[in-house]
Homo-oligomer: 203 residues x 2
DNA sequence: GTCTATACTTGGATAGAC
DNA sequence: GTCTATCCAAGTATAGAC
């Protein structure tokens, strides 16, 4: 009995995960408009009604999907950044992570949900709460990277963090729109050059 | 007869304009999801079928709306920027224009349509074509503003233009998400300080 | 050019069998 | 916990009267 209860719980967890994965896939491929319960269920190979049983509403599911992808991704960023503490190394790491995000569509999920939050205002605070850790993370990294350098007192870390996250979002949007990422790649290359220059001014 | 034909044409033009205005309003208030033919028609006080008579499909209408708002706005930017050629003046102008965009929701229209272009790929090139003039405009302004200064040879104008437009989009998204614009205001204030500093290094 | 009426499709959500 | 069947609301689009 304990066994079957455990089994039941594990199956339930597995199903939840399958649903979340399918929702992420739908968001990345078809955007918010295409991430309907029917579309998600069909693509994931399960029944549509399961979404409502496990998540109540489609929007709840999409938030759970954002939660998961954002959390996982932030952890990956934190791990990666720990290895790179000089400014040039940091830029290289950022370039690599950015390419990963672009290829996997991680940021698309966020962009689509922010767009949808106009129609569904109740999503707004939920999404904002999931973006906040990113701004904080960016600020921590920036503080460390600029410490002792000339930019540290010129540019408040909070502003730099906000701008960084905004730039990330905007770049992904434009890159997706253009269908090629040459502009992004060129920008990162320039960023790496500037970082190298700034590093020569650091203590 | 000529008179009635003229009248007919003028009425038709007026109707088109009313529909476009209502579509812009819907996009700004409710986003792409809320900009349905029914919602647009109800809010604009006209019949739903008119949309299909004048624009064929809802998406065609939304593109026409983007066309109009983007064109008008770009003209306003060009006029405003002609008056300000030093870097600090330019930043002040940008701050003012940005506040206008934010309050009027001009960028929201673009963000929503970019988001929707995932679900409707045929929108992508259309939107891209309407964004391109902005990147070009940004590049022109940047070239003039940085001419002779130290940044001119450090940062390719193309990269700076792309980054500027991306930053604009991202800032609007995050500002809308947070529900307040203190972060943006702070960032612009920092931008003005940096611009003032850079101006002292210009010839 | 504009309106009414309507065909058709898709989507959210629930009831009830299994 | 999962599936089938179904209700209802909302959307796009068109035909045809005015």
């Amino acid at each position: 009995m304990a066994r079957s209860a455990r089994r039941g719980r594990r199956d339930s967890q597995e199903t939840r995960q399958r649903i979340i994965d399918a929702a992420l896939d739908a968001l990345k491929r078809e955007g918010f408009t295409g991430a309907s319960a029917r579309a998600i269920a069909e693509h994931g190979g399960f029944n549509q009604a399961l979404i409502f049983y496990h998540f109540g509403t489609v929007n709840h599911l999409l938030l759970a999907a954002l939660d998961e992808t954002s959390g996982r991704r932030l952890a990956a960023y934190q791990t990666a950044v720990e290895q790179a503490k000089t400014l040039p190394e940091l830029l290289q790491t950022a370039t690599r992570l950015y390419r990963e995000d672009l290829a996997a569509g991680h940021i698309t999920v966020l962009n689509e949900l922010i767009g949808a939050s106009l129609a569904y205002p109740e999503l707004r605070p939920e999404i904002a709460a999931r973006v906040q850790p990113w701004v904080r993370f960016a600020e921590d990294v920036i503080v460390q990277a600029l410490a002792g350098g000339p930019l540290a007192e010129l540019i408040p870390s909070r502003d730099a963090a906000f701008a960084t996250v905004a730039l990330y979002l905007g770049m992904q949007m434009l890159t997706h729109l253009n269908g090629d990422n040459t502009a992004t790649e060129s920008l990162f290359a320039t960023g790496e050059r500037v970082a190298a220059l700034l590093a020569t001014l650091q203590p």
